[in-house]
C-alpha cells in the first residue's frame, strides 16, 4: 500500500483554478520530487495535503486513512511534517529554543504546567544531538532573527524533521543556500533513513537528481508526467517548459 | 465581627486625635473629583471652601487650617485609597467631600469605623439620610429627594397635570424622579412616562421628539453637567422650547448650565437652592467677595463649599474641641446663615432643612436669571424612606 495517496484533488482560489485533478502516490521509503514551473501549484499541493488549505474535491490518504479533513496540527501526530517555502521560524527565540519547541510537540508532557521544560532530559539530549549532528552548536544561543538567510533555511528543515515523521514534505529546502550548504543539505537529505519517506519540491537540478527516486512534473495545476529521473530528463515537453533548452538538466 | 473591627482600629485612631489636639492646626481632607466630568463641580466646592477660609484668616473654630486636596476620580475604589492616605497617613481631623454618591456610600462605613467627621458637600444620595445615615456624616448640600420634591407641587398646580419625566440612568436620576413623581402626583398631576437615557448621552433627540409626540402638559428633566447642557440645547433645537414647558431639577437654574447655554434655558422652571441673584445680605457679600477673588459668579457648588467651611467653623467653635465625639453633638441640629438662606441640619436625617426657590429662567438685561416664583420654605426630608424598598 502506498504511504501517501493523493486522489484527484482540485483547488481553486475564487475563479483561479490552481490544481486540477491531481493524483499522486508515494510509496513507503520513496524519495519523491515534484518539479514544475513557477506558479504550477506545487506549494498549493503541499498546502492541500497538509490541510493548510481546504480542498475543493478529491481526497488525500495517509496509510490508507483519509486525512483531507483532519486539522493540520493533528497530521504531525499521524507522522506527516512539512517545511515552508518562506522561512517560518520563531525569530525572537534562540536556535535551541526553536528546537525545543519542535521536539516537544510529540512528547507526552506537552500539557504539563508545573515542571520546568529544562528538567526534561530527553528533550535536552535530542536537542544536543541535532546541534552536534549539524555542527551548529556554537549558534545555539543566537536569536534566529540574527541568523543569515541560509542558516535560517537549514533550521527550517531541522524543525520539520524533529518530530521524526514518517513522511516529510520539504518545500524548496535549498533555496537561498550557497552551493556549500546546498551540497550539505542535499547529502543530509540523502542520508536520512529510508524510514522517512520524502516528498520534495525543488528547483535546483543537482539536488533533484541527487535525491529523487521518482519525479512528478506539475504544470498549470496538472500532473503532466510522473516517472523515473531518466524518463523525466529525456522528456521533450519537460525540457521545454521547465529545464529550458536542457542546458543544465544533467548537471 | 463588626465590633471587633472597631476595637482594633480605634487604637491607632486615638493616637491620631491625641497628637492633633496638641497641635495648633487642624487638618482637613478635601476629597473631590478634580479630573473628569465632575471637575467643574469640584472646582466650585474648592473655591467656596477656600474663600471662606480666606475671609477667616485661614482659621476654622479659631485654629489654623491645613487643607489636603485629593482627587477620587469619581471612583469609590480610588476614593477609599485616598481616604486611607488622608486618615491613616496624613491623620486629618475632618473630611469634606465627595461629589459622587457612590463615593460617599463607600466612605460612610470607613468614617464610622475610624470615627472621623465627614461633611458631605455634594453627594445627594437619599439613603445617606435614611438607611445609611451615620452619626459621622452631615450633608450641607441637598438630597435627591429634596431636589425632585421641590417643584412637584408647583408644577402640578400652576403648569399642567400630565408630565413626562426624563433623567439619566443612574441612582441619582431615579431618586430625583421618584421624589418628583410623588410630589407631582400628590398634587393631582400624573407622570405619564419615564425615560432613563444612559449617563453621558450625546443625543436626546429620540426622547425629545417622543415628548413632542406625546404632548404632555410639561416635561420634567433632571440632568447635571454636560448632559444638562446638551439636553437644554437640543430641547431648543428640536423646537420644544416655548412649546412644551420644561420643568427641572435645580441644576437647570444654576450658573453652570445657564452660563454656557444662554437663551436655550429661558423659560425653564426649576427649584433652586441657590442663585447669585438671591437678594439677602449674606449672599450679596458672598457674591461680591467671590467675584473679586475668582472673577466669575459663584454657583451652587461654590456655596456648598463655602457652607461646608462655615458649618465646620461653627461646630468647632461651639464644641470647643475638635474631637469627633464632641463635634457631632453640636452638628446635630446646628443652624447657620448661608448665602442661600437660613439652614438647619435636621438631627433626624443629618440633612439640611433649607428653602427651595421655584424659579423661572428669565432674560433680564441680556442675561438669564432664575426669577423666583414661589419659595418652598424649610423643606425637610422625611425621617424614613417613603418609598417601598
Amino acid at each position: 500500500m502506498s504511504l501517501l495517496k493523493v486522489e484527484n484533488i482540485s483547488k481553486s482560489f475564487n475563479t483561479l483554478q490552481v490544481l486540477q485533478n491531481v493524483s499522486l502516490e508515494v510509496q513507503p521509503g520513496e524519495r519523491h520530487v515534484i518539479i514544475g514551473p513557477n506558479g504550477a501549484g506545487k506549494t498549493t499541493l503541499f498546502n492541500c495535503i497538509t490541510s493548510h488549505l481546504p480542498i475543493n474535491s478529491g481526497a488525500v490518504y495517509l496509510e490508507g486513512k483519509e486525512i483531507s479533513k483532519i486539522p493540520s496540527h493533528h497530521l504531525v501526530h499521524l507522522g506527516m511534517s512539512r517545511t515552508f517555502q518562506k522561512n517560518n521560524l520563531f525569530g525572537n527565540l534562540t536556535v535551541e529554543e526553536n528546537l525545543h519547541l519542535a521536539l516537544a510537540s510529540t512528547k507526552p508532557y506537552k500539557f504539563q504546567v508545573f515542571h520546568a521544560l529544562s528538567t526534561y532530559k530527553d528533550l535536552r539530549k535530542e536537542t544536543n544531538e541535532i546541534l552536534e549532528q549539524w555542527r551548529i552548536n556554537d549558534r545555539k544561543d543566537i536569536l534566529v532573527n540574527n541568523l543569515s538567510y541560509g542558516e535560517q533555511r537549514l533550521l527550517e528543515v531541522l524543525l520539520a524533521m524533529a518530530s521524526k515523521p514518517k513522511i516529510l514534505l520539504l518545500d524548496e529546502p535549498t533555496s537561498g543556500m550557497s552551493p556549500a550548504e546546498t551540497t550539505q543539505t542535499s547529502e543530509m537529505i540523502q542520508s536520512l533513513p529510508r524510514s522517512t519517506t520524502l516528498l520534495v519540491i525543488e528547483h535546483d537540478m543537482e539536488v533533484v537528481f541527487a535525491i529523487a527516486d521518482r519525479l512528478t512534473v506539475l504544470h498549470h495545476g496538472e500532473v503532466i508526467l510522473s516517472g523515473t529521473p531518466e524518463e523525466i530528463k529525456n522528456n521533450e515537453l519537460v525540457k521545454e517548459i521547465y529545464f529550458g533548452g536542457g542546458a543544465k538538466a544533467h548537471a | 465581627g463588626g465590633a471587633k473591627q472597631e476595637t482594633t482600629t480605634s487604637q491607632s485612631e486615638k493616637q491620631g486625635t491625641d497628637t492633633a489636639t496638641e497641635a495648633e492646626t487642624i487638618k482637613i481632607g478635601l476629597i473631590l473629583s478634580t479630573t473628569g466630568t465632575f471637575a467643574p463641580l469640584s472646582e466650585g466646592i474648592k473655591n467656596g471652601f477656600e474663600l471662606y477660609l480666606e475671609q477667616h484668616d485661614g482659621m476654622l473654630g479659631g485654629k489654623k487650617v491645613e487643607l489636603k486636596l485629593e482627587d477620587d476620580e469619581a471612583n469609590p475604589q480610588v476614593a477609599l485609597r485616598k481616604y486611607r492616605q488622608l486618615v491613616h497617613s496624613e491623620k486629618v481631623n475632618f473630611l469634606v467631600g465627595p461629589i459622587s454618591s457612590a463615593v460617599v456610600y463607600a466612605l460612610r462605613d470607613e468614617v464610622e469605623k475610624d470615627k472621623i467627621v465627614l461633611i458631605d458637600a455634594n453627594a445627594a444620595g437619599d439613603d445617606l439620610a435614611w438607611a445609611k445615615k451615620s452619626d459621622y456624616v452631615y450633608r450641607t448640600s441637598f438630597s435627591n429627594w429634596q431636589n425632585g420634591h421641590s417643584t412637584g407641587a408647583y408644577l402640578a398646580n400652576n403648569v399642567g397635570k400630565t408630565a413626562i419625566a426624563i433623567a439619566p440612568d443612574y441612582p441619582a436620576g431615579k431618586e430625583v424622579v421618584r421624589a418628583f413623581k410623588a410630589a407631582f402626583e400628590e398634587a393631582g398631576g400624573k407622570v405619564v412616562k419615564e425615560s432613563y437615557p444612559k449617563l453621558g448621552t450625546n443625543d436626546f433627540a429620540t426622547y425629545i421628539t417622543d415628548a413632542a409626540n406625546t404632548k404632555p402638559d410639561l416635561v420634567y428633566a433632571f440632568f447635571a453637567g454636560s448632559d444638562g447642557i446638551r439636553f437644554v440645547q437640543q430641547y431648543k433645537d428640536f423646537g420644544l422650547q416655548g412649546k412644551i414647558p420644561l420643568g427641572g431639577s435645580l441644576e437647570f437654574g444654576d450658573e453652570l448650565i445657564i452660563q454656557p447655554t444662554g437663551d436655550a434655558t429661558e423659560g425653564i422652571i426649576s427649584g433652586v437652592v441657590y442663585s447669585p441673584y438671591l437678594d439677602n445680605e449674606q449672599n450679596n457679600q458672598f457674591v461680591e467677595a467671590y467675584q473679586k477673588k475668582y472673577n466669575k459668579l459663584p454657583n451652587m457648588f461654590s456655596v456648598e463649599g463655602y457652607d461646608s467651611a462655615q458649618i465646620l467653623d461653627k461646630a468647632i467653635t461651639e464644641a470647643g474641641s475638635i474631637k469627633s465625639e464632641d463635634v457631632i453633638k453640636v452638628l446635630k441640629g446646628i443652624s447657620f446663615d448661608s448665602p442661600r438662606g437660613p439652614i438647619t441640619i435636621d438631627p433626624k436625617t443629618n440633612n439640611p432643612i433649607q428653602n427651595f426657590y421655584v424659579s423661572k429662567n428669565t432674560k433680564k438685561d441680556n442675561v438669564i436669571v432664575p426669577e423666583v416664583l414661589e419659595t418652598v420654605e424649610k423643606l425637610t426630608m422625611p425621617e424614613t424612606s417613603p418609598f417601598p424598598q
Binding site: - | 472646582e43 449617563l199 426622547y207 454636560s226 447642557i229 433645537d237 423646537g239 454656557p260
Partner: protein, 286 residues
C-alpha cells in the same frame, strides 16, 4: 416628517460625526499601525481652540479653519518628536499616546479651566427645518453633508492617487519603501497630521452637538475605537458604514431596548466580532 424619520436622521447625523472622528483614528491606526489613544484629546483640543476663537468674535468658519490648522501642526510635532520612535512597537505606542492624552487633557484643563461650554451653531445654519409637526435642526443636516464630502475625499485619495498604496506599503515594510525612493518619514508625518486635523475638524463640528467639557476626550475615544473595530481596521469604508450603523443603533436602541442603552454599542461590537472576527470590512487575517 414622522417620528421614525427624525430618529433616523438623528442617527445618521451622529453616525457622520462618529465617522469623521473615526476616520482620523482608522487612518492612523489601520493604515500606519499606530494606536493613537490621544485621538480623543485632539478632538477635545479642536473644540476648545475653536471656542476660544469664537469667543474672540471670529466667525465659526474662521475658527474652524484655525482649529484644523493648529491641530494639524500639533500632529506634526507629535509625530516628529514622539510617535516616530515607536513605529512597530504597539505596546509602547499605547503607553506613549496614553501618557500624551493625559498631558494634553490636563493642559487643556489648566489653560481653559473646568467650565463647561458649548460652541454656538453658526448663524447661517441656526434654523430648523419643520415638516408637519416634526422639527429638524439644519446644522445636523450640514454635519451629514460634511461627512459625505469627507468620504468622497478619502475615496478620491485612495483610488485616484498613489498615496493610499504607498502608506499601506509603508506599514508592511517600511525600509523597503524607503529603498524604492519614497520618503516614508514625510509620508507618515503627513498622514498623522491629516488624522490629527480630522480630529480637530470633528471637534469643531461636534462642538455644537456634544458640548465642551473636561472628560469629553475619553468618551469620544471609546466610541470611535468601537466604530473602527466594527468597520474593520484600516478600511475607512468600514468606518463609514460602521459609524452609520452605530449612530443608528444608538438612536434606535433607545426606543427599542431602553434598558440596554448603556451597553448597546458594546453588545453590537461583540456580536459583530463573534460573527466576523476581522470586523465588517476588515481584511481577513492570513
Amino acid at each position: 416628517m414622522s417620528i421614525i424619520s427624525v430618529q433616523l436622521l438623528t442617527g445618521l447625523a451622529y453616525g457622520m460625526l462618529y465617522f469623521m472622528i473615526a476616520a482620523g483614528l482608522t487612518i492612523i491606526l489601520g493604515v500606519m499601525n499606530v494606536v493613537n489613544l490621544a485621538h480623543g484629546t485632539l478632538f477635545m483640543l479642536g473644540t476648545y481652540i475653536a471656542f476660544t476663537f469664537i469667543s474672540q468674535q471670529y466667525s465659526f468658519w474662521v475658527a474652524m479653519l484655525l482649529s484644523v490648522i493648529l491641530t494639524a501642526i500639533l500632529g506634526i510635532i507629535i509625530e516628529r518628536l514622539l510617535i516616530r520612535r515607536v513605529y512597530g512597537k504597539e505596546l509602547e505606542q499605547v503607553l506613549l499616546t496614553f501618557g500624551l492624552s493625559f498631558v494634553i487633557a490636563d493642559s487643556v484643563k489648566w489653560f481653559w479651566g473646568t467650565e463647561m461650554q458649548t460652541i454656538p451653531v453658526p448663524a447661517m445654519l441656526d434654523f430648523s427645518i419643520s415638516v408637519g409637526e416634526m422639527v429638524f435642526p439644519a446644522y445636523r443636516l450640514f454635519v451629514v453633508l460634511i461627512g459625505c464630502l469627507l468620504a468622497t475625499l478619502l475615496w478620491y485619495l485612495e483610488s485616484k492617487t498613489r498615496i493610499g498604496a504607498v502608506i499601506r506599503a509603508g506599514v508592511d515594510d517600511r525600509s523597503m519603501v524607503g529603498a524604492l525612493g519614497i520618503n516614508v518619514g514625510l509620508v507618515f508625518t503627513g498622514v498623522f497630521a491629516f488624522g490629527a486635523a480630522l480630529a480637530g475638524l470633528s471637534g469643531v463640528l461636534g462642538g455644537p452637538l456634544v458640548g465642551m467639557y473636561i472628560g469629553m476626550d475619553s468618551e469620544i475615544l471609546v466610541t470611535s475605537l468601537i466604530v473602527v473595530v466594527v468597520g474593520g481596521l484600516g478600511s475607512w469604508k468600514g468606518s463609514f458604514i460602521g459609524a452609520i450603523i452605530i449612530g443608528l443603533i444608538e438612536t434606535l436602541g433607545k426606543v427599542w431596548f431602553p434598558s440596554l442603552s448603556m451597553l448597546i454599542v458594546f453588545l453590537l461590537m461583540m456580536i459583530v466580532l463573534i460573527i466576523r472576527p476581522q470586523g465588517l470590512f476588515g481584511r481577513e487575517v492570513a
